[in-house]
Symmetry: C2
Subunit: 338 residues, 2 copies
């Protein structure tokens, strides 16, 4: 992987991920939110904060499958979804920041209504209220998290010092939206025959083909062969394994509503007056680099506090680069959060 | 659409597609074929030939959904699958050529066994035997038809003067194979509840996202909106329309076995000693241009009768360009068949 900027790669990978006895707390917030499409709803919000008290707070948000558990801690030792990106010596270091994260509204499947990324931004504001946090030192959002970050910057500008939006933009691309619509149809097809698991598995497999790239598949998987009178392609074992594990832990309604939510993304970059670094991956098949470029152009308006930055990474992991390229992303985050 | 070569676009679009009273004949051939994976099978082969008797024969082959009816004629006036590509003044002109085409082996759904593109090449040889045709003046194959054309060139070199392989290569790309595997799984998911139509529709919708490009979808479809409490994306009406019509005329077994057949493509370009023009589309998401380039490099071996040609087209229609860019493709065919 190469980087357009000449930042040396971080050495955080050589260090243990977390120093001992890092503090972490979880909590819930019960409140009523005015959802954009679903009206007022009583909701329970879940958050986790890792890091030394009194340090600046950075909100960390990932894709629709991510949750509030970003990295392991003494209190919550399970591996987090961004375990490789945060640790001693990294740009995101719990010794220097408090890393705050939420479970996405709707992820548990109990809210069967359209959820807008703007709603998630309001969820974060409600959590900040409950925790007595006035201003976020930073918001690092990836994929859906980047969409929510842009909404947060537009809706709650006084509460955010800087945003890093990785592999997410101000809109959903129409082709990627169609791709997600077909994933939701796979779930519906499974549900018709009372086999939601099979539908979820197929949906996730379709999704994976968009997250990853032809280059990776070419390097990784063998040619097809005939097995018991059927053709089996090289990637199917991998797709079965990944999608099966994901489907086993994902409520169908939670997936459907968060998948839809990506397609509702619509924020005017001209309404954002917070400093933004946009990080795009050239090989991303869901968020084309043209959309990241358009976002940066539109963020460069007269009221922008400083010129928005665009950092372009190259990775065979495409949209999933934020989960697979910790060293390159660390270099970008180090600069953006400095 | 632009072309790397400076050939003027053909003016065939201005002329009527076919002169009156063009001759056309259909026929069937019953024979036994030794299939590569399924062993000896008694099969019925179907063909159609359009054009003036005594003229040079050009075999025309399209994707797995194409059939023997290439263009309308007096005898068979229905619109053909390549109606816009063949006609008076075109590179493919029934007044100057006889255009021969077949129904793919297995397309009717009666052969539920693995079918190799090499089998289809042998089908064509058997049809030539039955019709008393010694040598094809040309073979113009697109998508799956290009794969079969490469097999025909390798297996029956004495029967072919030149090959034009459009948007198809010597192998199936592993990412595209995975994409097709998921289409077959959609059919299987539908079949589980005895709703093969619903499964076929979803399969076709997944396929269309690969045939076309993000650029076309971006220009063509609006943003998503909430309809009756659900998110509906801009492309869904289009996908429903196209896939519904296709599924209504496609036998599930025929689709499954021909889809598998694409993934069995494996031919060594070094074994081909027939002149070949490879036509690739830069935006093709199923047959990456790197595969077309590798094909041409490997066709440039010591025994090649002349240097293979690569023509690169650019089209927002991606893999479907051979169905959507008749003028640009006519220019390429004119040169290749001259």
């Amino acid at each position: 992987m190469s980087l357009t900027t000449a930042i040396p790669a971080a050495d955080c990978r050589a260090a243990p991920c977390l120093p001992p006895r890092i503090e972490a707390r979880r909590g819930t917030v019960d409140c009523t939110l005015a959802l954009r499409h679903a009206g007022p709803r009583a909701v329970r919000l879940r958050h986790e904060c890792v890091g030394a008290p009194g340090r600046p707070v950075v909100l960390v948000a990932g894709g629709i499958s991510a949750d509030r558990h970003v990295v392991a801690s003494d209190a919550f030792p399970a591996r987090g979804w961004w375990q490789d990106q945060a640790g001693a010596g990294c740009a995101l270091d719990p010794a220097r920041h408090r890393l705050l994260a939420i479970d996405w509204l709707g992820a548990d499947g109990t809210l069967d209504a359209p959820i807008d990324p703007a709603d998630q931004a309001d969820v974060i504001a409600a959590v900040l209220d409950a925790l007595g946090i006035e201003v976020l030192a930073g918001f690092v959002g990836c994929s859906y998290g980047a969409m929510v970050g842009l909404q947060f910057a537009a809706r709650h500008p006084a509460r955010l010092s800087r945003l890093v939006a990785v592999s997410g933009a101000h809109r959903a691309h129409p082709h990627a939206s169609a791709w997600r619509a077909l994933q939701r149809r796979a779930v519906a097809l499974g549900a018709l025959q009372c086999d939601e698991h099979a539908g979820l598995v197929l949906a996730r497999q379709i999704a994976i083909l968009g997250y990853r790239t032809p280059q990776e598949f070419d390097a990784r998987f063998a040619a097809s062969r005939v097995v018991d009178g059927r053709v089996r392609t090289g990637a199917e074992d991998y797709l079965d394994h990944c999608a099966g594990a994901w489907a086993a832990r994902t409520p169908p309604t939670g997936f459907l509503r968060l998948s839809e939510s990506i397609d509702l993304q619509a924020v005017a970059p001209e309404a954002i007056e917070v400093p933004v670094t946009v990080v795009a991956v050239a090989e991303d098949r869901l968020v084309p680099i043209e959309d990241a470029q358009a976002l940066v152009e539109r963020l460069s308006h007269a009221r922008a506090p400083r010129r928005p930055q665009l950092r372009v990474l190259r990775s065979v992991y495409g949209h999933d680069a934020f989960l697979k390229e910790p060293a390159a992303l660390d270099a970008v985050l180090r600069e953006a959060l400095a």
